[in-house]
Amino acid sequence: MSTPENQPNGEPETPGMSRRSFLRNSAVFATGLAAMAASLRPLFETTDFPSSEQFLQKYYKELNPEEMQKVLTRIEGEVERQYGIRPHVRDYKPMDGVEYVYCLNLTRCIGCRKCVHACVAENNQSRDPEIQYIRVLRMPHGSLDIEKAEHNYAPEQVPEKGYFYMPVQCQQCHNPPCVKVCPVHATWQETDGITVVDYNWCIGCRYCEAACPYWARRFNFTKPSIPKDRINPEMSYLGNRPRMKGVMEKCHFCIQRTRAGRYPACLEVCPAGARKFGNILDPESEVSRILKTKRVFIQLKEEMGTSPRFFYYFDV
């Protein structure tokens, strides 16, 4: 088998290639091509191949206002094509002199999970597979040890005796580990304290998901699906516009509402009044008053040094 004929391509160094070996080599070559084509076949099943504008889109912080406007218009078109509804996509900027803080009253929370579902509806989260930003933990009386948390409690009625409930979502840390580890700056902290994701820049490495001590990040393992009649058409670029496959998302304090002066959806829906939200830089705000007057309030996993802007307090 060690003759020069064995070369699959007729290079000049192979003098006098025979007809037989030419045929054989062509057959090998054709089989190889066919096998290659067959293995690439699933690519044709891709339904969301990126367009050239999507592929080449610049980083959020490098887009000038005109480019941003173009991108927003393009996204409106994309949403309309996919969901048959023309949305209103805006790029809400942080307001000067505002830093958001969330306070959650553990004495009041009854664990009804209304916040979870209001959040899904407001933020155009995928219904299949289901993506939720808020996870409500049922904790046994007397312990804040998160290892004892029950995630899948499903009683006839809440609240249950012997338990309290602790909803956990993005804690909007002062020192966010997710921002530190992102290899491409696709997630960052805005001046009003909200950590956001540029869904068009994220490469989907999931390092931030591994870094988050609060399990607050969610990954789109496949193309998200939302029923057409459930789309919330009031959208923001860094917030609730529909996401694509293979990118990270998370709670952003309902950027499209709060930066327009409204409350987050989870707060509005809470039947127990357990959720309080506001500007910590305003000494008259409700959250400033809570942090000044309540005897006990905690930051989850304070020892991590992440310094959350999300506080849990008790009515004592």
Binding site: L40, V184, I203
Partner: protein
Amino acid sequence: MITAARNYIRFLLRCSRIAFVGDWRYYAWMGILTLFCLVGLNAYCKQFAYGLVTTGMSDEVSWGVYIANFTFLVGVAAAAVMMVIPVYIYDNEELHDLVIFGELLAVAAIFMCLAFVTVDLGRPDRFWHLLPGIGQLNFPSSMLSWDVLVLNGYLLLNVHICGYLLYTRYQGRKPAKWFYIPFVFIAIFWAISIHTVTAFLYVGLGGRPFWNAAIVGPRFLASAFTAGPALIILALQVIRRVTSYFISDKALLTLRSIVQVSMIINVFLLMCEVFKEFYSGNLHVISSKYLYFGLHGYHALVPWIWTAITFNLTAMVLLLLPVSRSLRWLNVSCCLAIVGIWIEKGMGLVIPGFIPTPLGAVIEYFPSLNESLICFGIWAFGMLCYTIFLRMAVPILQGKLLKSNEDEAGALGVICK
């Protein structure tokens, strides 16, 4: 200048041509590897079309076998340095001509590493966001950006060293020391850095107590310097068998003593870790409990980790006994060490870091079929690369593929024998 370029292109052409020539065993081996590569490519195209939902990963366990294999293979790549140090620092004679096989293995291992991180990306089309200058590489803050730089740097260093040494051998002239020795010494430190940086990828995560321990870095190095040379011992014997290239038993035994010492250190560091975790008994032991004993009825990793520990301990005992001076027992202990460390450094390190989640939920992870096919495909691709490298390097080192015989018709036929 033009002649030099033409000569170099001619060298590359001849090298690539020889990769297509061999006896029936060579074709069979390459055929099987190509088949696995294509099956893996097919599986990856499915993943590309439908997303990472085709894997066993979830928001709870967001890294799986891809990153596990990546971690193990960075160690293999780094271990080339364990042949370089004896040769270039201690002037070891036996290993001198063999060091290039270790460096080529490093190149193949880095190819596999890069493939494993690429298939792990949710948006592979956006890889350009990582390119310095064009994208937004988060350097120096993100350890992943460090990893991108050190891995590609290590690849370039090794490609340069191997390529230069082979090319001068091909031309029949002595390599200019200044043109490769400095790079060899840089590569020694660089090798240690790639594995340290990869360890820091995990160590830097404060929210994951299982990884957030100083001992993870040293354990990475110890296990890499065990598994890597063990793999080289096996590879050298295959080379010796299928080609006429001479490799002395003494060289293999030199590598044996490296594996021996590294394995002792590896097991010692493992003991340190197990003691710290279980004796103090604080709440952070929970991931280790899951790994070694299972948690709330979930114990997917328990049989694996005990297999790994049994293999590692058996390999250590065998390596310490004189019996492993015989090649058969040496090969047994090398195989045990490689499999043991693959389990322990791969699945045994990556998965328990995610279990339980930071909110205390226990969700287990099992690789899917599609995910496993991609892994096999990448391994086949790596072996394919290494085979091709050896197919080119061996005749050059033997002096059969030379510039002086480039015009001889049928030269390839001679080389194949």
